[in-house]
Each structure stands twice: as C-alpha cells, then as structure tokens.
C-alpha cells in the first residue's frame, strides 16, 4: 500500500530564513511516528505543513497520492485531524459542543448534527474519558482535561491521519500514559496513522514505531527508536549531556539527563 502522507524534499520559510530544509518523510498506514527535537527546531511547523495549514515554497507533499495543495480545506479535514498544543475559547462552549465541532467537515448543507454525529461524538468522549465533562463549560476545565477534550474532538473528525502537537505537555504521568495507550489502541484497532510531537522522549520511544529527530529544520536522524535515541544523537542535537540505556521492562531506549553538578539528583525524561 502507498504511504498515506509523503513529503519529498520539502522546504519552508516564514520570512527569509528557511525553517525546514529538504525534509523527506513517509507516513505509512497504521504507524505511529514520534517527532522530537529541541525548542525551535521546527516540529510544530512541520506538523502544520503536513496538514496544509502552511504553504511550502519548495518540494512536494502528497496526501493519499494527491498534492495537498489541490485539496479543499474541508477535504483535508476529513483526512487529517490535528490536536493543537492549546486552544483558547473566548466564549464559553460546552464540552459536548466543542467535541461536536469535529463533525464540521462532514455536515452538508443542513447545518445541524444528526444522530450519527452525536453517536460518534459520544464514542470519542468515552474513549478519552471525557463523557462526564460533557455538560461542563470548556472554561472550567483543567489543562489536562481540556487536552483530552481536544483529542476527543480530533477523533470525532474521523480522519485517517491524526497529528498531535505535544498532547501530553499538561498531563500528569497517568494521563500521559493513557494518551499514548489510546493512540496505540486506535492505530491497532482502527488502523489510524499517527504523528506525535513530544518532549517525553522515553515515553514516546515505548509507543512509536519510528522516530524523527529534528535539528534546526533538518532531519538529523529517522528510524526505529533504538536507532534514533542514542546518547550521541540526543546530546548532539539537544546540546545537553545525556545517558541512554534500555527501559528494563519494554527494552526501549530511556534517556537520563545528566546534570552538570555531579552530586545532584538525576532526572529521567
């Protein structure tokens, strides 16, 4: 089967300086790819160009073998869903209303959600554990709850590809794990293809099939977690001394940050 999404020698810039240079990438069906890299390395920008939100200057992006620039916005929304880093609602919407917004691109001329749409929204809320929040205002939620609602909304879009931009950044460890578990469950059961930007390198390594290490807008290394997450690669890109060993249970790479003070406690990412 052809890959769902293909990037060929993609270049992008906001102003005069290239933010992304010569990106080559393929997303296969049912695969979870983690994108890691330091702040400002272009991770979020890369997600946005994959979703067609930003227009690339050079190269080519194929979504299901058709250039993404030839899709209309509504068509892209039926193929790709995105969970943004965060979102501020200026006016109060109920959680159920926010989740139902995911149906936007599926509604026709008649602008009201039907029974089937409600059913899909309900399923997404139950998968993300947000059903009990349905009647609450989006303003009353904690950062973690809001992030799960945004994931529920993305699921409600019923797209083949889901892009997540640091979905675990506001979550406690339990919800971090649950988010990755959910993503992995969805790829297994529904064959979704997922790209996830994350700073939780060790956790992402446990769930991602492949990882892409981005440095200054260039792909530094792409491959299986064990190939990408090595002490040399991580130290070089993040410019921070690290120790990489194997997680005793999952045998996936585990990153430990080495502080400059030898006697201080060390921290695992």
């Amino acid at each position: 089967m052809d890959p769902d999404l293909i990037l060929r020698d993609v270049y992008f810039r906001y102003d005069s300086q290239w933010c992304l240079e010569g990106i080559d990438f393929e997303l296969k069906r049912g695969e979870i790819v983690g994108i890691i890299g330091p702040n400002g390395s272009g991770k979020s920008t890369l997600l946005k160009i994959m979703d067609g939100l930003l227009r690339i200057q050079k190269g080519e992006i194929l979504l299901f073998n058709k250039p993404i620039s030839r899709y209309r916005r509504g068509d892209i929304a039926r193929h790709i869903a995105m969970v943004p880093q965060e979102e501020t609602f200026r006016f109060s919407f109920l959680v159920s209303e926010v989740v139902l917004m995911g149906r936007f691109s599926h509604l026709g001329l008649f602008p009201f959600e039907g029974k089937a749409d409600l059913e899909i929204a309900n399923q997404s809320m139950s998968l993300t554990g947000t059903l009990n929040l349905a009647t609450r205002s989006i303003h009353e939620l904690s950062g973690g709850e809001r992030q799960r609602v945004l994931i529920a909304r993305a699921l409600t879009q019923r797209a083949q590809i889901i892009l997540l931009d640091e979905p675990t950044s506001f979550l406690d460890i339990r919800h971090k794990v649950e988010t990755f578990e959910l993503i992995s469950y969805l790829t297994l059961t529904q064959g979704l293809s997922v790209i996830i930007v994350s700073h939780d390198i060790s956790l992402a390594a446990q769930y991602c099939h492949r990882m892409l290490l981005l440095n200054n807008g260039v792909v530094y290394k792409i491959g299986e977690p064990a190939e990408v997450i090595t002490a040399d690669n991580i130290s070089a890109v993040y410019q921070c001394p690290v120790l990489v060993d194997n997680n005793p249970i999952s045998k996936t790479p585990r990153v430990t940050i080495l502080s400059k003070r030898k006697d201080s406690k060390e921290e695992t990412v």
Binding site: R73, A77, R78, F89, E97, L107, H139
Partner: protein, 358 residues
C-alpha cells in the same frame, strides 16, 4: 485527589434524556425564533399605542379585527409617524445586534461591537458634513453618511490586509486610530457650527430615529435580509472561529474567505443602518452578551436570537426616548447607554469576563 475524581468518571454517565439538551437542534432554533418574534410583535403593538396622542391598545385591536373605525388623524399618527419609526428601530436594532455578534466572533473579542472598525466615525463625518451643508434627512444626509461608513471600512480593511489575509489585532488597532482621526474632524465641524444645525448634529451623534420614513425601510430591508441570510448560512463556521483561526482552518473552515465576506457584508448593512439612525451605541454590545448568557455560544441559535433581541431592545428603547419627556424627545442613544452601561457593569461584576453560562 485526582484519582478519586477520575474514578467517578467511569461510573457517572449523563442520563441520555439529559444529554439530548446539550446541542442545538433545528427545533430549538425554530422555537426560540418564534418566541422572540411573538415578543417583537407585542412590543411593537405596545409601542404603537404610546405617544402624545392617546390611542389605546384596545382601539388598535378592535380596529384591526374590524369592530371599530379610527379617525383620519389617528390613522395618520399610527401609520405615517409611529409605524415607520417602530419598523426602522426594529431593523436598526436587528442589524446592530447581528453586527455585534458576528464581530465578537470574528475578532474573538467580547468587547467588539459593530462600530469597532471605525464605521460609526466615518458615517458621522459624512452625516455631519451633510447637516453642515443643509442637506435633507431623507436622502442627502444618509447618502453622505453611508459613503463615509463604506469609505472608512474599506480604508481600515485595506490598511489591515497583508498577503490577502486580514489580521484581527491589526484590524482593531486600525479601527481605533481611524476613529480618533475622524473624531477630530467631527469636533472641527461642531466647533465651527453654532446655529440650529448644531442640535441636529448632536442628535445624530447619539442616535435619532425621528426622521424615519418607509422609503428608508424599503432601501435598507433587502440588503439587510440578504446579508443576514448569508451570515446565517455561515453560522456554524463562527463557532469554530471562536476556538481560534488556525484550528478552524484545520477543521475545514475557509477562514480568510469567511472573514472577507462577513466584514464586508456586515459593514455594508451597518453602514446602511447608521446612515438612517445615527450612532446608537450599546445595542450591538449588550444584546449578544445577554443572549449568549441565556442560550449559550452556538451561533446557529445565537445569531437569530441576537438579531431579534436587538430589534426588541431598540424598539423598547426608542419608545422610551420619544415618550419619557414628551412632547420633547431624547436621542435614543441616550436611553441605550443609560440602560446599557449599568447593565453591562452588573454583568461584569456578577459574571466576570468569562461569559460562562450557569
């Protein structure tokens, strides 16, 4: 703590019947619109019966169903003086409130109102120049005022557009600057006028519906109907815009197209409304917020409810304006501000700035 809270999550599912009420159905929109229309008709009938000449509601009713006749003078007062004014007040209130709700959504700003892009000051400059040169209130002044409004909006949008896109914060800032500039022009004309035209100018600046004519209605109505129809088609797009332009785009909204259509369409009808009524503040700010508190933020319900609510509010306010110090009259903007400002402060104090629904 967190664990306890989350355990409840699995067990308490909302009751299905209760869940049904959480989203907007076409029926809910129809009921709300019907209810507000009935209120609108009642307010209009009450307003029709009020004024210096005593014509009671009972007289109007019995005449309507053919039990009674009314004399020529009463007929003239009802249909040549009061009715066009009530209809125009309704139309202007409808338009201002629609403008308010759309601008608040597009600019993602609770303080946005229909005049925020400087339409009012542009219209005012046109109107005041018209009054200064002694033009009539049926065509001359409205025409100049409309041209002023349109010129201002195109100027503001032209300045704010970059690479074909309209950036909200730039729009707001440009609107503020243009407002400040035109206020200076207005003050210049006011300072150099001293005769009865000054009274007309000041009334215009605070909103004045005493010059209402059927011909104004027939000019304004088609535009306002068409634009509000188009806006309603996009009503669910505004819901997504409130969550941010980028995520709206992601979910399938053609954001830039929507912004251009809405800003131009709304500005056109606000320009028309203002050219007939002068600057009536607060309607476009308060009514949408009030409706949002009662009905929630879904624009499929909020847009029709706010527009009709605006019509009801302005008819009531204008009835007060023309009866409260009868036989003399107040500019209607005085009433809307007098009622609106304390109400708005009350909302802010009791609800905070979050505009959450209880």
């Amino acid at each position: 703590m967190n664990g306890m809270k989350d355990n409840k999550e699995q067990s308490i599912l909302p009751h299905p019947a209760k869940r049904e009420r959480q989203w907007i159905t076409p029926l809910k929109v129809v009921y709300t619109v019907l209810l507000l229309t009935v209120m609108l008709v009642i307010i209009a009938l009450i307003s029709l019966s009020l004024g210096p000449a005593k014509i009671s509601l009972k007289d109007i009713f019995t005449w309507l169903i053919g039990y009674n006749t009314i004399d020529q003078t009463a007929w003239m007062i009802l249909f040549k003086i009061r009715l066009p004014r009530i209809l125009l007040a309704g139309l202007v209130g409808f338009t201002l409130s629609l403008g308010g709700v759309v601008f608040q959504a597009l600019l993602r700003n609770p303080l946005a109102e229909p005049f925020i892009l400087g339409i009012s000051s542009g219209a005012a400059v046109g109107a005041i120049i018209g009054i200064f040169f002694g033009l009539g209130f049926t065509f001359g002044v409205p025409l100049l005022s409309f041209m002023g409004a349109l010129f201002t909006v195109l100027l503001v949008m032209g300045i704010s557009s970059r690479h074909g896109g309209l950036e909200s914060s730039t729009l707001l800032l440009t609107g503020v600057i243009i407002n400040a500039f035109f206020t200076a022009v207005i003050m210049f004309f006011i300072a150099t006028t001293s005769d009865s035209r000054l009274h007309s100018m000041l009334f215009w600046l605070y909103g004045d519906l005493s010059q209402s004519k059927y011909v104004q209605l027939s000019i304004g109505l088609p535009f306002i109907l068409i634009v509000s129809g188009i806006i309603y088609i996009f009503s669910r797009h505004f819901n997504l815009i409130v969550g941010g332009e980028e995520s709206a785009l992601q979910m399938g909204v053609e954001v830039e197209l929507l912004k251009w259509i809405s800003f131009l369409g709304i500005s056109l009808i606000i320009g028309i409304a203002v050219s007939f009524s002068g600057i009536i503040g607060f309607v476009g700010l308060i009514v949408p917020h009030l409706m949002r508190m009662i009905l929630g933020s879904d624009h499929r319900l909020l847009i029709p409810a706010s527009s009709l609510g605006g019509a009801i509010f302005l008819i009531a306010a204008d009835t007060l304006a023309r009866t409260i110090i009868s036989p003399s009259e107040l500019p209607v903007g005085v009433i809307t501000a007098f009622l609106g400002a304390p109400f708005f402060i009350y909302l802010l104090k009791s609800r905070g700035s979050q505009w959450t629904r209880t």
